[in-house]
Amino acid sequence: MNTPDAIVHRPDYGALMSEPLPLIPEPLLQAINLQCERDKRILFRELSFSILPGTVTRVEGPNGSGKTTLLRILAGLNDAWAGDLKWCGAPVANHREEFLRNMLYLGHRPGIKPLLTPLENLRAVMAGRRPVSDASLNQALQGTGLAGYENVPCRNLSAGQQRRVALARLLIADEPLWLLDEVFTAIDADGVAAIEALLQQRAAEGGAVLVTTHHDLALPNMHRLVLGKGGVTDER
């Protein structure tokens, strides 16, 4: 077992405190006894795991095993569950805004307005999070291979290109926790390889990535969270 060790800087709540806070290694996100039912069927129960900083975890399982549901629960989009979710040791429900500031979720649906250009889309999604200059946004779009498309309405882009617009957020993200649900859909092989490298780099920087995909990921030290029928195993 090779668990990358990691540390988390706690946010500096006390503005008056001038010395740096002690560095404490602890899980970013903890799930304790999660249970989820859908249409009278139990998707999973007694599901407990920790997401440590510096890790990439792949959520695996057959179709219908609840991968997407799990990610939506973790992101706070789905609230039909029982159990405890903790962000840096404290219940997520009590620190929702702090959690949302530090979590980046990309879902099945790319979250891109077809009528807006890639740049406008990125601007709109960052408007509620933190100020990012247009230069940085353009750079991120170039980084995803969309140079020259910055001002083309997204509906004129291919599915893979639209997905890349959404993925451009990863290049400017400062959120330590990434929840990525089937983000490789419609992405070509080169793109997948580049994104893999990006995830690994993020983990090396101390971030944590949770990803569902049907692509084979070639990441060393990848954790696996396996959802199955009736039982859940956490394999490293």
Binding site: P62, N63, G64, S65, G228, K229, G230
Partner: protein, 79 residues
């Protein structure tokens, strides 16, 4: 008794049809509602019982996991 005779009671000085129509509709609807509620409760109990018996007969075999899919082509028969 506010009425002199049974026929007076029925006719209610001409207001009988209105009064009796109201009471009839009230009692019929309430009866339908009550009987319907009881019936659907009975039906639910029955369907639960059948479900349990079906389960018991079938043993522990639950629905097939997705991994059991073979995607083999089906020989279509016509009858």
């Amino acid at each position: 008794m506010a009425f002199d005779s049974f026929s007076a009671f029925i006719s209610m000085e001409g207001h009988g049809p209105y009064v009796w129509a109201c009471y009839a509709v009230f009692f019929v609807l309430m009866a339908v509602l009550m009987a319907g509620s009881l019936r659907s409760r009975k039906a639910m109990v029955e369907s639960c019982r059948r479900g349990y018996e079906f389960q018991a007969a079938k043993g522990k075999v639950a629905s097939a996991p997705a991994s059991s899919a073979s995607f083999a082509r089906v020989n279509v028969s016509q009858d």
